[in-house]
């Protein structure tokens, strides 16, 4: 735990907190969006808001992979597992995302679907090798961090000539979502972004350069440890106070301007941009997601099984969309903590501990509950 505990040091946090308090300008409000669910989780889990002056408002962004996945995408996976008898492999959080007909992958499993929780794409390949008579579909979700492992799995499957493995691809792109927030979100004033940690290790810091240049919004890339987040907030406050808008990198121990070229090459080899992709909360965003290239079409579950995507509207009372855009806080949703809880999530933001609603419910609701 050495090199981890160092980034969770309470004494250093208190010092940084008083420095930040001294730097905020009286009468000024700072509205900062942490894009990533990993940051939302760290902020909630370590109680970072308690260490910040009230003039700093942290707005939870849409960087939570399961939160932005629209209902219709989970429906596709459930159809493959229930109707086509495929072994559906996925990362854990996805199991509880509400889909149509009051189903989730977990409930589909109880109805007889073969749904497997995996830690790595290698596990899905191993299942495919062990069960050559069954179709194995990997429900791939996530931002740029989880995309390279999916690319590796597809390349590996091609090399081995695996015929029963395919990917239901829902990989999405961070910069496209940030553009969408700045273009779509109404009445949301943002003064700057805490930029992604793990995503940036892959794509580098260069893709964020349009945000200061075209929108005048500073971006500070930050690691997922609580001291990283505090330090990034301080760097953002300084930029805002000085009237600067730049991409700065707090996470220099892992992020470079160019990112991980090897991973980028793998991703480029296997995937291409989709013309458009529907996001929960952000609507249909052009060039914001990936699909498999024609060369790998035989591993694309959407084409292999001809399961088309059918858009499904969110639950009427659910405010996930506005929350994902930063327009509303979880506690401003009427069904928050009443009908919608982590046990009975109605919207996706209540599912993953990286989701704004689940994080507030599980870690922070003592602040608002009477």
């Amino acid at each position: 735990m050495k090199y981890i505990d160092d980034f969770r040091d309470g004494a250093l946090a208190r010092g940084l907190a008083s420095a930040i308090a001294a730097e905020v300008q009286p009468g000024r409000e700072y509205r900062l969006m942490e894009f990533c669910g990993g940051h939302t989780h760290a902020i909630s889990r370590y109680g970072i808001a308690d260490l910040l002056p009230p003039s700093i408002r942290l707005i939870h962004g849409p960087g939570c992979p399961v939160c932005v996945l629209p209902i219709g995408r989970i429906d596709q996976a459930i159809r493959l597992a229930l109707d086509r008898g495929a072994i559906l492999c996925t990362y854990a959080d996805t199991l509880r995302v509400p889909a149509s007909g009051k189903l989730t992958l977990q409930k589909a499993k109880a109805q007889g679907a073969d749904v497997r929780m995996i830690y790595s794409t290698a596990d899905a390949l191993a299942i495919a090798r062990a069960q050559p008579g069954r179709e194995v579909v990997f429900l791939a979700i996530g931002f740029e961090t989880t995309t390279p492992p999916t690319a590796v799995a597809v390349i590996q499957a091609a090399a081995e000539g695996l015929k029963n493995f395919s990917v239901l691809c829902n990989h999405v792109l961070t910069p496209a979502a940030m553009h969408a927030i700045l273009n779509v979100a109404q009445g949301v004033r943002l003064d700057g972004f805490i930029g992604p940690a793990h995503v940036s290790t892959v794509i580098g810091s260069a893709p964020y350069e349009p945000f200061p240049r075209d929108y005048g919004k500073p971006v500070v890339i930050a690691g997922f440890e609580p001291l990283d987040v505090m330090r990034a907030i301080q760097m953002l406050i300084r930029q805002i106070n000085e009237g600067r808008a730049e991409v700065e990198n707090e996470f220099t121990r892992a992020v470079t301007r160019a990112g991980n070229r090897k991973a980028q090459v793998l991703v480029e080899r296997v995937f291409e941009l989709r013309d458009a992709f529907e996001w929960r909360g952000l609507g249909t965003v052009p060039h914001s997601a990936l699909r498999l290239r024609d060369e790998y079409a035989r591993f694309d579950a959407e084409r292999k099984f001809a399961v088309s995507y059918v858009a499904v509207p969110d639950h009427k009372a659910c405010e996930c969309a506005a929350i994902l855009r930063g327009e509303k806080r979880p506690e401003e949703c009427k069904i928050f903590a009443t009908a919608c809880t982590p046990e009975t999530p109605i919207g996706s933001c209540m599912v993953s501990s990286e989701g704004a609603c689940a994080a507030h419910y599980s870690y922070g609701r003592f602040r608002s509950a009477a």
Binding site: M1, Y119, E343, S352, E354, G364, A369
Partner: protein, 341 residues
């Protein structure tokens, strides 16, 4: 009667059919390992001497996978789990009953190892298995072996331990590092290896509770934080007692390997099962006495004062983090699922 081949033989359906094969199994594995005078009566139940005091009874079913894990196996776990449930009531455990559900094809060698481990745990604890039952189910209808145990004990005089008794101002103590059992299991399941392997804390805690209650019978609550970990147990207590609890993260003992494994899998040690730890809640002015009594016992050497009970009509469990902020410690939703990124 012929002899079972304990090295290479397997359970088949005849071992549950009530015939000669079943008698062989009981005699050559169960009776041989677990033998005591009550079991030797050979009847459908055990005749036990009269006990002085109120009786306490608890039952627990064990379905752990893998059956053998670092620090223990399903056999000793089934003994410890039920003894601990009786002990947490402030009672002295006296007798155990055990039911086995065996899957067709289960190796005699594994069964013998499990029953021997159970017998050793029961002897060490001084709590005999006085009656039992076995059933055999077809292959695929169980996972090797399931063991349900029931324990009977007698309540200590002048002791009133209940989840309803936590009062604002009380001190919250834990008897040792948390998360060992759950992460020992998880590290086997997920193939995690560490320089020093994580070993389950499975242990019978009635000696420890007895030492604690000898030193101070005023203990308000005793609980063993098994499934759902410390987080679930404290939430049960706050709900039963209609109070809140505030923990101090820096005071909660967690072994480095457990912390590292949790970090790797995106889990929180507070949600991880323990099988040899207890939570004690007692009046604040007696916290020092309680801590000293726990630490004087080998199973409580690393006991720590980790929080206090507060007035809170919402019954929240909160924690002041190492970082200096505050957060809630909620029940887990569903299973402890690892996060994605």
């Amino acid at each position: 009667m012929t002899t079972l081949n304990l090295k290479t033989g397997h359970i088949d359906l005849s071992h549950g059919a009530g015939g000669r094969a079943m008698a062989q199994l009981i005699e050559q594995i169960f009776a041989r390992e677990l033998h005591n005078d009550y079991l030797a009566q050979g009847d459908d139940g055990a005749r036990l001497p009269s006990a002085h005091g109120k009786l306490v009874m608890a039952t627990d079913a064990h379905v752990v996978s893998p059956l053998f894990f670092p620090g223990g196996d399903i056999g000793c776990l089934a003994v410890h789990g039920t003894i601990n449930d009786v002990a947490m009531m402030g009672a002295t455990p006296l007798y155990l009953a055990a039911s086995f559900i065996l899957e067709e094809g289960f190796p005699f060698a594994d069964l013998t190892r499990i029953v021997a481990s159970m017998a050793a745990a029961s002897r060490e604890a001084g709590v005999p298995v006085v009656t039992g039952d076995t059933k055999v189910v077809e292959r695929g209808k169980a996972d090797g072996v399931f063991i349900a145990t029931t324990g009977v004990g007698v309540l200590r005089d002048g002791v009133d331990c209940s989840g309803r008794n936590a009062c604002p101002g009380d001190a919250v103590l834990i008897s040792g590092p948390i998360g060992d059992h759950g992460m020992a299991i998880m590290s086997v399941r997920e193939n995690l290896s560490f320089d020093s392997p994580i070993v389950s804390d499975t242990a019978a805690l009635h000696g420890l509770t007895s030492a604690l209650l000898d030193a101070m019978p005023e203990v308000h609550v005793l609980r063993d934080p098994t499934r759902g970990g410390v987080a679930a147990t404290l939430n049960e207590i706050t709900r039963q007692s209609r109070v809140g609890i505030v923990l101090d993260e820096t005071a909660i003992p967690v072994r480095p390997a457990v912390a590292a494994a949790c970090e790797l899998l995106g889990l929180d040690p507070l949600n991880i099962a323990n099988e040899g730890r207890l939570i004690a809640i007692c009046p604040a002015h007696l916290a020092g006495t309680a801590l000293a009594a726990l630490r004087a016992h080998p199973l409580g050497r690393d006991a720590a004062l980790i929080g206090r009970v507060e007035q809170d009509a919402r019954c929240f469990v909160q924690m002041v983090t190492r970082f200096g902020g505050r957060r809630m410690i909620d029940w887990l939703s569903g299973d402890a699922l690892p996060r994605i990124c």
